[in-house]
């Protein structure tokens, strides 16, 4: 039972991060390799607001989340907008460079020491005992809840929201979308904002659960195979992909060798790329569009 709970928690983490990759890829065909760093930035924003809003911890969380939304939008408007029309390599490398810049700045501002935003906010993290004697920490449980809410919200937004429909439209055919009066830059900025926002939620909850230092980017990087295994342009795929990757990782740690944990997602990714490069739920034509 504990085994299943572990998988669920890890899958929730990966899924919550992976939807950020999917959102950006889906509308602008850019793979955002700075996602791990942006997510970490969200967590560090919480550290910043935690000291500023010590009186009202909840406000600190809300404020940090809103700020990360703005950060994502600004990353597009001030940086990635200039990369439209450039080659895939250039756009991806720009995100890589952005990641390095963010990581450097974070260490510069907050030092490389581990931070504990939960202690700063004065919250504790009780262990919940589930039936079957499985244990889960409060924030791990919240992670699962947050993943459900975010995916539900994204699904409703993309299906029924006017701007959600526009995002889908822009992803399918940017040219036609512009002709229909859709401001592509607004849509892309929105995608970047939402992606950073969801990433930041993941980052904040992980940081609240188990502390925060710059190794968090590795989690971000490991979530990326989840997005790709499911298919880079499919949210459902990201969810399933996260389950597969988390299942493989927890299984390997339990039954084979804990040292393999960091490499399992990438082995699954390689297998997937060999068999079905466009992922489980991805669209096949993507391959030629790259």
């Amino acid at each position: 039972m504990q085994f299943v709970v572990n998988i669920m928690v890890l899958a929730a983490i990966y899924a919550l991060i992976a939807c950020g990759y999917v959102l950006i890829y889906r509308v602008s065909r850019v793979l955002n390799l700075a996602h791990g760093e942006l997510m970490m930035l969200g967590a560090y924003l919480l550290v910043a607001t935690a000291s500023a809003f010590a009186a009202s911890p909840l406000m600190a969380v809300v404020f940090a989340a809103v700020m990360s939304l703005a950060v994502g939008g600004m990353v597009y408007l001030f940086l990635m907008r200039r990369m439209t029309g450039e080659t895939v390599l250039a756009a991806v490398l720009t995100t890589v460079a952005l990641g390095i810049l963010i990581r450097g700045l974070i260490v510069l501002f907050w030092s490389a020491q581990q931070q504990h935003p939960r202690a700063m906010l004065g919250w504790d993290n009780p262990v919940i005992v589930l039936p079957g004697d499985a244990r889960i920490s409060l924030y791990s449980a919240l992670l699962i809840v947050a993943t459900v809410i975010v995916y539900g919200g994204l699904f409703l937004f993309l299906r029924f929201g006017r701007w959600g429909i526009r995002m889908r439209a822009a992803g399918q055919n940017p040219l036609l979308a512009a002709q229909r009066g859709i401001n592509l830059h607004a849509v892309f900025a929105l995608a970047w904002g939402l992606s950073t926002f969801t990433g930041a939620i993941a980052g904040m909850l992980i940081a609240l659960d188990s502390g925060l230092d710059s190794t968090m980017t590795m989690i971000g990087l490991k979530a990326f195979p989840a997005a790709l295994v499911g298919g880079l342009d499919s949210l459902v795929g990201a969810l399933i992909g996260a389950l597969i990757i988390a299942g493989a990782e927890v299984g390997v740690i339990r039954f084979i060798d804990p040292l393999l944990a960091d490499v399992v997602p990438f082995i699954v990714l390689i297998v997937m790329l060999v068999i079905r490069p466009w992922g489980l739920f991805g669209t096949r034509e993507e391959l030629d569009r790259v």
Binding site: A169, L176, Q179, N183
Partner: protein, 267 residues
């Protein structure tokens, strides 16, 4: 020319990749409430003209090198497309005219309206009023529609932008005559009821001249003929080369060449 023109294209010249001149000295005007046809064969420069008007030139490394496009008096060249749409000019492109993975209703919802009529449903109703068939297909993915239904959806989506001028690229391309007939009737009623002007770019002169008030004939990147639809329909050359009604005895291919040469420096 009298009356105020909604759209004025003045001696437009477009050059592709700084080397190939696609159109030269193209001058045309669309007045309020008019349906204007722009005729021409493949490669005559129709699509280029349309793209220059709708602001989609940059993608192919093309550039307006001379002349001007004025819409309600203000210049339009080299502006981003969504801004042009917001000014009241919407384009129904030739290919890829709908979002295939979105349903019909979503295709219409995705459009950014200019915000004249506050309620979205008014425009929805308008779209379904002109194309009642779309209402039945509301929940279907646009990728599964037939060619005629797609064209309807594309025009309806164009209407949703609440334009003053609708540009339609190749209305009849690849469609059955019945479907074309229905579409042309819808266009006329759109013009009559909503007072939207239409610029129709067509290969099939028969279709276009039936509903147009005024027409231009484009050849090798230049306007070679223009006039009232009636005058054009009666024009011997149009009948011969665009409507396929040979008057009198058949002429040989050499005469065709003759015609092309004689028209070349007309505009």
């Amino acid at each position: 020319m009298n009356g105020t023109a909604l759209l004025e294209v003045d001696k437009l010249e477009v050059v592709y990749q700084r080397a190939i001149t696609a159109i030269q000295g193209v001058t045309l005007a669309v007045r309020k409430g008019q349906i204007v046809a722009l005729l021409g064969t493949n490669g005559a420069g129709k699509t280029t003209t349309l793209r220059a008007i709708s602001g989609f030139l940059g993608l192919d490394d093309a550039r307006v090198t001379e002349g001007a496009v004025r819409f309600r008096g203000s210049r339009l060249e080299n502006r981003p497309p969504h801004e042009i749409t917001r000014r009241g000019l919407s384009l129904v492109p030739e290919r890829d005219k709908v979002f295939p993975n979105l349903t019909v209703a979503e295709n219409l919802q995705a459009v950014v309206r200019r915000g004249r009529s506050g309620d979205a449903r008014v425009m929805d109703d308008a779209a379904y009023h002109f194309f009642p068939k779309l209402k039945e297909l509301r929940k279907r993915e646009a990728g599964l529609l037939s060619g005629g239904e797609r064209q309807m959806l594309a025009i309806a989506a164009g209407l949703m932008c609440e334009p003053d001028l609708l540009l339609i690229d190749e209305l009849s391309l690849g469609l059955a005559p019945v479907a074309v007939e229905n579409l042309t009737q819808s266009l006329v009623s759109i013009r009559d009821e909503l007072a939207i002007s239409i610029l129709l770019v067509e290969q099939s002169a028969g279709v276009a001249l039936r509903i147009a008030d005024y027409g231009y004939v484009l050849e090798n990147g230049r306007i070679v003929l223009d006039g009232d639809a009636e005058r054009l329909t009666r024009h011997a050359d149009i009948q011969e080369f665009y409507l396929g009604q040979a008057s009198g005895n058949r002429r040989s291919y050499r005469d065709v060449k003759q015609y092309r040469r004689s028209r070349r420096w007309y505009g």
